[in-house]
Amino acid sequence: MSATPEGLGSPLRAALLRVLRRPSVLISLGWLFLITAGTAGAGFLAPYDPLDQDLNATLALPSGAHWLGTDDLGRDLLSRLLHGGGGVLAGALEAVVVAVVIGVPAGLFIGYVGGIADRLGNFVTNVMFAVPAFVVLLTVAFITENDIPAIMGVLGVMMSGGLTRLIRASTQSARDLLYVDAARVADLPRTRILRRHILPNVTGPLLVQTFFLFSVAFVILTSLSFLGLGFSPETPNWGQMVLEATQRLGTSPWLMVPIGGVLIFTVLALNHLGSALRDALPQAERSSLLLPRPSSRTRNRAEPRAQKADRAEATGERSAAADVLLAVDGLTVSVGDLTLVDGVSLTLRRGGVLGLVGESGCGKTMTALALAGLVPPPVRVGSRSMRFDGTDVRALTPVQRERLRGREIGLVSQEPMVALDPCFTVGATLVEALRLHRRLSRSDARTEALTLLRQVGIAAAETVYGSYPHQLSGGMAQRVCIALALTGRPKLLIADEPTTALDVTIQAEILDLLRAVQDEFGTTIIIVTHDLGVVADLCTDVAVMYAGQVIESGTVDQVLADPAHPYTRGLLAATPDLRVPGERLRTIAGTVPVPAEWPAHCRFANRCPHAQDGCTTGPILLELVTSTPDGPAAGPNPAAGRGEHEHASRCRRTHELEKVE
């Protein structure tokens, strides 16, 4: 969360402004204003005295004289509604104010101080929760002989328990924020820290809760008055009006309508304001990863004609050669108008290890997930051609396409600690997958699962088998994830930054394991990484990505020994393991542009030390790099004839720069 340390920080204000633009919120606010103003100004707004009886017009339906009709004594319903709201609204407001006045300081205090105060506070709120509020209110109503302020005060006290808990939780999480720690270390007075640094973080949830509390208090109060408690029977009041309506239910059901509408609209408006505000508050936006049902998905069609500029690199049927496992051409991933992966073409030999490398935000992970068929809508995936193991993937039916997952293509993801279902043991997860893929009996699946666990280097296989994911270390969990990916014996294993979330000491072990998997099972591997060291260590081929495009590709020997693209050179110079010893470790100035700002010309130009005017005039193609600088390929390259081992770079100055250096 990016909360600001200052005051009513901009996130909350931004949320409020965002909420106020929604029509439903404006309607809710309008309604609340209407009933507040209406009841406050009932004296001169109401067309009749609410107690005036017109015995010639009892139980009348709406008419010009009585807009909402009359009750059994001929009293005007609209006037009674206007006069009857003040009591309940003011009462509910009082309860909320009491709850806030008690709950906020109490929650802040016990949340911040912790220890015994926290335990005591917890006990008190537990007691409050143990008594149904309504039971107490009923008794209080009798004790105080229907003294509304007293009843609502008690309700406020009882509601403060829940509020205390909420504020306590928000305070505890705010207390651990870095800048609050800093303020504590700086020895600022405690009240100042609470007021300046913690309260702002609590304000959002508090505001949301206030609306909900108001709606609860409102309902409780109308229920009380419905039971004939709390309010004098002489003056009109909303709860009582329901009671009066129910007594005439059989003969004139209309009476239920106006009062019902008012009650429902009011609660609806309060709840809506609360939830709209809650949804608008800053929070980690995460979208569903669930893929649609295969039957409901249309064929995996190509994006509407990918860029002409890339047509030159169409590899055609040639890559369907027997030793090629995967050949994808012009892979595009987009969401809305935004292109995240822009015409990526890859060719992968059987048994090869391809490194997909680049900084964060270059589209490596998206590319990997798209290849695995794991990108849910609204993100769209398209390609000019995609062949896997000799089959045209785009010609498969959705159901056949789905069958590739797990059986042909496996995935190892970035964060092993959250990659496994926390509710199931490692064993249960593996057995479920094994039984699905290999139609094993329960006991055979168990034996096989244990074998797999040993194969991925887990010595205490029995223990891990019975463990839940949260009991495993990161490295152990990643081994389990690799075992899980192997249950379907996939030909291709896609590892998406498999070591990023792990301790440095564990990283090498996981890389060794992947290498062992490749050796033992002959699995072809795509490894996504930002670390050229990993590429040098593990891969046979490499594709460097920048801003959604492949900017250089070739074998590891070609690319690392003789990088052609300035970006690759920059990455190399910034990799501690690979730089020339004695040379300074360099960085690449600037950052990867976000997809919306990708230019039509060379996307690296604004960070490139070798950029010229010509680099920013038009699209740059991926062209072959020939080892001899004076070779024939100085001009635009007929890439159609290119094989999968050839070294290519997306830089118009490739050959000049080679001469320069």
Partner: protein, 313 residues
């Protein structure tokens, strides 16, 4: 886990003690002399004094409290001033209708809410929007207003269900069920909508977790991922909400039982407060507290059963 439960039981004891004390204090604050209510307006001073001695009301408050507390520890909550039944008996009679109502309505809310909430979360689109809007409205309908409407429609006009009363389940399970439908609907509609909303939010949250991607990448069928993995994870917060809903229902029974004239704890409380039947009021408040604590205990137990992270902590 065992320690966790033991801990909860240990906290429950002082909580109950505090609630018992508060309920004692609360009813002592009711103005007016119970003896006047029992004996009527024409009672002589001697009669009142005799009754005071009888009921122990002439003793100091502290003595009364201690003797009540001592009795309560042995399960003796005193005798009703009005009916002459022991509080235990009175509460026992009233317990069945209330617990039937609360359990039935919560159970229906839970099952339907889980199904519908899970369904709209996975499906999304127009149905999601529509159900969300409806649930928002359902959440805003006051139960007593809805109760009246249901009575009008299904009891008075269509005469499908009885408007009032309660049939014990051992007399006729069918009549028991039919008699509870209207009150359970009226009191359960808010909870049902709450469970729908919570399940929807919870399922969407689980769907965004990485393990869903892992399971899809492993090749598990979509249906299996949803029913076996997503729903299981999503149910954990729903359990907590359902526990709260049950407690909310216990609060709501007072109003609903008054409307449907159900001889439950809500009605018992209402009549005993009105007739200054102090021992019964205390007994009912205490029983409510025991129920709430019990529900919290059970919902914790279920959450732990579903979630190994709680179970093994």
């Amino acid at each position: 886990m065992a320690r966790r439960l033991l801990n909860q039981l240990l906290v429950a004891v002082p909580t109950l003690f505090v609630v018992a004390t508060l309920s004692f204090l609360l009813v002592r604050l009711v103005p007016g002399d119970p003896a006047n209510y029992i004996l009527g307006r024409n009672a002589t001073a001697e009669q009142i004094a005799a009754l005071h001695t009888d009921l122990g009301l002439d003793r100091p408050a502290l003595t009364q409290y201690l003797s009540w507390l001592g009795g309560a520890l042995h399960g003796d909550l005193g005798t009703s001033y009005v009916t002459g039944l022991t509080v235990g008996q009175a509460v026992q009679i009233a317990f069945a209708p209330t617990i039937s109502l609360a359990v039935l309505s919560t159970l229906i809310a839970l099952v339907l809410g889980l199904v519908i909430g899970g369904w709209i979360a996975v499906r999304g689109g127009r149905w999601d929007t529509a159900v969300q809007a409806l649930a928002g409205i359902g959440l805003a309908i006051p139960s007593f207003w809805l109760a009246a409407l249901l009575v009008l429609l299904f009891a008075l006009k269509l005469a499908i269900f009885p408007a009032t009363g309660y049939t014990p389940i051992n007399e006729s399970p069918w009549l028991w069920f039919v008699g509870l439908i209207l009150p359970a609907t009226a009191i359960g509609i808010n909870n049902f909508c709450q469970v729908v909303m919570q399940t929807r939010a919870s399922v969407l949250d689980v769907l965004s977790r990485d393990f869903v991607r892992t399971l899809q990448a492993t090749g598990l069928p979509r249906r299996r991922i949803i029913y076996r993995h997503v729903l299981r994870n999503a149910a954990i917060p729903v359990v907590t909400v359902t526990g709260l809903a049950f407690i909310f229902t216990l609060s709501g029974v007072v109003v609903i039982e008054a409307i449907f004239n159900t001889p439950g704890m809500g009605n018992l409380l209402l009549t005993s407060v009105q007739s200054h039947d102090l021992p019964v009021v205390q007994g009912v408040v205490l029983l409510f507290a025991v129920l709430v604590i019990g529900v919290n205990f059970v919902s914790d137990l279920v959450a732990a059963w579903l979630d190994p992270r709680i179970r093994l902590s």
